[in-house]
């Protein structure tokens, strides 16, 4: 079996008196598609944000692609990572946000080319060629010159996916990427993600409330509650035969709320 690409070792995250993650450990294999589900406030989004270095951790260690994420080796020991080290580690990871966070002052094409040109020194022509390929893949090539405000939510999110892919990360994080969308726009984004899963061997972590999609998309499902992994397993086992009572309760509630499986 291949070595894990992500190894989370008993991390803790506290906001003041509130403990969001409590000694959490998990591993992700290269190429694995992981769905993180659970009630809001259970810590699943925090995991993604920590992996993207948008948060700090209060304790524990994370290894990404064989290297420490928040600590760097020095004099035989580990010290907290400095900004330069984090910058290098972030190359391995891309993220798509619930609220897209496109750069509103730049057209679609420039949203996708900005980071490769600035962070990897890719020439403009080459960056644009690659960007057009990615926009084509997400079905947004004809909107390359549009401004974000002219796009629907689903279109924005597809551009955001292309923007993250432009940096060729090994790991992609999807944080509730369809939660802010009108229902009729959800499917176009999910289709792009299905395509991505089928065509690439990227490792993907997905926080979602779309249980049906999580079931089809994921190799493994983790159910989070109160900062801990309560249950994990193959999608069929988690969704059809949950063993833990908290998982059963959660699924019953979310299905009653009208989510399909």
């Amino acid at each position: 079996m291949a070595a894990p690409i992500i190894r989370i070792d008993s991390i803790t995250k506290r906001y003041g008196p509130l403990t969001v993650l409590d000694g959490l450990s998990m591993e992700v294999l290269p190429g694995e598609k992981l769905a993180l589900i659970g009630p809001s406030g259970s810590g699943k989004t925090t995991i993604l944000r920590i992996l993207m270095t948008l948060e700090t951790i209060s304790g524990g260690h994370i290894e990404v692609d064989g290297e420490q994420l928040y600590h760097m080796p020095r004099n035989g020991g580990l010290v907290p990572a400095d900004e330069r080290y984090l910058h290098r580690m972030r190359e391995k990871i891309g993220m798509v946000f619930q609220h897209f966070n496109l750069f509103p002052h730049k057209c679609v094409l420039d949203n996708v080319t900005l980071a490769p040109m600035l962070t990897k020194g890719v020439a403009k022509a080459e960056a644009e060629k690659r960007a057009m390929e990615l926009l084509d893949m997400v079905g947004m090539a004809d909107k390359a010159k549009s401004m974000p405000a002219q796009l629907s939510g689903g279109q924005k999110q597809r551009v955001a996916i292309a923007r993250a892919l432009a940096l060729s990360p090994k790991i992609m994080l999807f944080d509730e990427v369809t939660s802010a969308l009108d229902p009729e726009l959800v499917e176009e984004v999910l289709n792009v993600m299905r395509k991505l899963a089928a065509e690439t061997d990227m490792t993907m972590l997905l926080v979602t409330h779309e249980m049906g999609f999580a079931h089809d998309f994921a190799d493994r499902v983790l159910f989070f509650d109160r900062g801990k992994i309560v249950e994990e397993g193959k999608p069929d086992d988690i969704f059809r035969h949950p063993r833990q009572e908290r998982t059963q309760t959660f699924l019953r509630k979310i299905l009653a709320a009208g989510h399909r499986l």
Binding site: M52, T53, L54, E83, H87, R90, E91, I93, G94, M95, F97, H99, N101, L102, F103, P104, H105, L114, A115, L118, T119, M147, A149, R163, A164, L167
Partner: protein, 220 residues
């Protein structure tokens, strides 16, 4: 006392000389204020705590004291510690510092209005701090600030007569000197007022144009 057109034409060249200096001082002062304001704002928002606090203190200190006092200080007190500045330069520094503190507040509000998600997207696409400021944050923060900054520009313009107190030969000072030597005040002072009024009106029209233009950008 009767209005004397001959006298008007006689003093016009001198007053226009003064107007040139007034406009020059305003332009340089505004440029300096724009830069100083940005430095103040970024220091207050991103510098380590002691430096950020020191910046806040300086900003509050400058804002809490009259421009006239600051001008006297720069021009008449600094020479005591060996810093001798030409009058115009001292005036420009005074205007720039004073209005820089107001600009800093405008910048701060504008920067804080950029949503947190933009910072996060910049980080997630691995931009450095510098790149984030230059390519993501400032291009979004600056356009909505322009009307507020232009307002301060007009206010600064109308405060330039204070520079006459430190011997800068701007419009007010020239008018005073022709008035003092001829004992005729009505023409020079009326002309000063008219010049300021014309310039302000032009600025206001320009400001309306900016407001409309950038209001549209925000809707984009």
């Amino acid at each position: 006392m009767e209005w004397d057109w001959n006298f008007v034409w006689q003093i016009m060249p001198t007053l226009l000389e003064g107007l040139k200096i007034t406009i020059l001082a305003t332009a340089l002062g505004a440029a300096l204020a724009a830069v100083i304001g940005l430095v103040f704002a970024i220091l207050r928002m991103t510098a380590p705590k002691p430096l950020a606090r020191a910046t806040s203190f300086v900003v509050e200190f400058i804002r809490g004291t009259p421009l006239l006092v600051q001008l006297y200080f720069i021009f008449y007190v600094l020479p005591d510690i060996g810093i001798r500045l030409p009058a115009l330069l001292a005036g420009v520094i005074g205007l720039g510092l004073h209005y820089g503190t107001y600009a800093a507040e405008v910048y701060r509000a504008g920067i804080e209005n950029v949503p947190r998600g933009q910072w996060e997207a910049a980080k997630a696409t691995n931009l450095t701090g510098r790149q984030t400021w230059i390519h993501v944050i400032l291009p979004q923060a600056l356009p909505p600030m322009i009307p507020a900054l232009a307002n301060y520009l007009i206010a600064m313009f109308k405060e330039t007569p204070l520079l006459s107190a430190i011997t800068v030969l701007e419009l007010m000072n020239q008018a005073k000197s022709v008035a003092n030597s001829s004992y005729r005040y009505i023409e020079p002072m009326t002309l000063v007022g008219v010049f300021f009024l014309i310039m302000s009106l032009i600025s206001v029209v320009f400001l309306r144009f900016l407001e409309e233009r950038y209001a549209r950008v925000e809707e984009r």
